[in-house]
C-alpha cells in the first residue's frame, strides 16, 4: 500500500535538498551504484527512526570524507526500486529506514532501523562517518 504522495513529498525533498538523487526505478539504482562509492538511503515515514535519520544524514555529509554519489528510494512508495536495492544485500532482512554504502556496485556497510531508532541524529551520523572513513577516503582499500 502506497502512502499519499503529498504526505511523503516533504521527506523526499529533505533529501533532495541535501544532494540526494531520487532513484525510483531498479535501473536508476543500478546506474548510481555501479562505480565509485554510493550512499543509498531507504527513506521512511517512520517517526521513530526516519525523523532521526534525515538530520543524521545532513550531519554526516559535513564530514571530510563522503561518498561519490548520494541516492535514495522511498519505502512503501518506490516499491520496485526499494526491492531492487534490498536484493543487493539480501542477507540483511528488510528495514526502513535503512542506509547502505556501496563501493563499485558491492554493499560494504548496511545500517538498519534498529540501529537508528531511539538514538540521536549524532549517533546515526557517527555510524555513517565511520563507514565513510573506512571506504570513502582516497587511501581506502579497493
Amino acid at each position: 500500500m502506497r502512502y499519499p504522495e503529498e504526505m511523503v513529498q516533504p521527506m523526499r525533498q529533505e533529501l533532495v535538498q541535501m544532494g540526494f538523487q531520487e532513484t525510483r526505478t531498479p535501473d536508476a539504482v543500478k546506474d548510481v551504484v555501479a562505480s565509485g562509492t554510493t550512499l543509498l538511503f531507504i527513506n521512511s515515514v517512520c517517526g521513530c527512526a526516519g525523523g532521526i535519520a534525515r538530520p543524521g544524514l545532513a550531519l554526516a555529509l559535513s564530514h571530510d570524507a563522503v561518498p561519490d554519489h548520494l541516492a535514495t528510494t522511498f519505502a512503501g512508495m518506490d516499491m520496485e526500486a526499494t526491492d531492487f536495492v534490498r536484493s543487493l544485500y539480501s542477507e540483511y532482512p528488510p528495514s526502513s529506514p535503512q542506509a547502505a554504502l556501496f563501493k563499485d556496485g558491492k554493499p560494504v556497510a548496511v545500517i538498519q532501523r534498529h540501529q537508528i531508532e531511539g538514538t540521536t541524529p549524532q549517533h546515526f551520523a557517527g555510524l555513517l562517518t565511520a563507514a565513510f572513513d573506512q571506504h570513502c577516503r582516497s587511501d581506502a582499500p579497493a
Binding site: G47, P94, S95, R113, G118
Partner: protein
C-alpha cells in the same frame, strides 16, 4: 495504563527473552492485559538455550528476520525486555 505513545519502548525494536529456548524480537507496540504486543516479529526457538546469545548478537548486527506480523508474549513467559541494540555488545 498510559497511552501507547507514552511508553518509552513504543516503536523500538526489542527482545523479549524467556527462560527457555524461545526468544521474541520485534517492534514493541504496547503492554496489554495479556502481555507484550510486538509487531513484525521474529519468534524463534533456537533449540539449545546456549545458542541464544549468538542468535541475538547476529540479529543485532543484521536486523530482524521477521516471521510473524503480530504476537502477544504472555507476561508469564517473559524473563526480560531489552532493546535489540543492547545485544550488539555481546558479539
Amino acid at each position: 495504563m498510559g497511552k501507547t505513545c507514552d511508553d518509552p519502548l513504543h516503536g523500538l525494536t526489542v527482545v523479549v527473552d524467556t527462560p527457555g529456548s524461545v526468544v521474541y524480537i520485534g517492534r514493541y507496540h504496547s503492554e496489554t492485559r495479556d502481555g507484550f504486543l510486538l509487531m513484525d516479529a521474529d519468534v524463534r526457538d533456537v533449540g539449545d538455550p546456549s545458542a541464544k546469545a549468538d542468535y541475538l548478537a547476529r540479529s543485532a548486527r543484521m536486523g530482524v528476520f521477521k516471521n510473524t506480523d503480530r504476537v502477544i508474549v504472555p507476561r508469564s513467559e517473559a524473563a526480560s525486555v531489552r532493546r535489540l541494540i543492547e545485544y550488539a555488545d555481546t558479539q
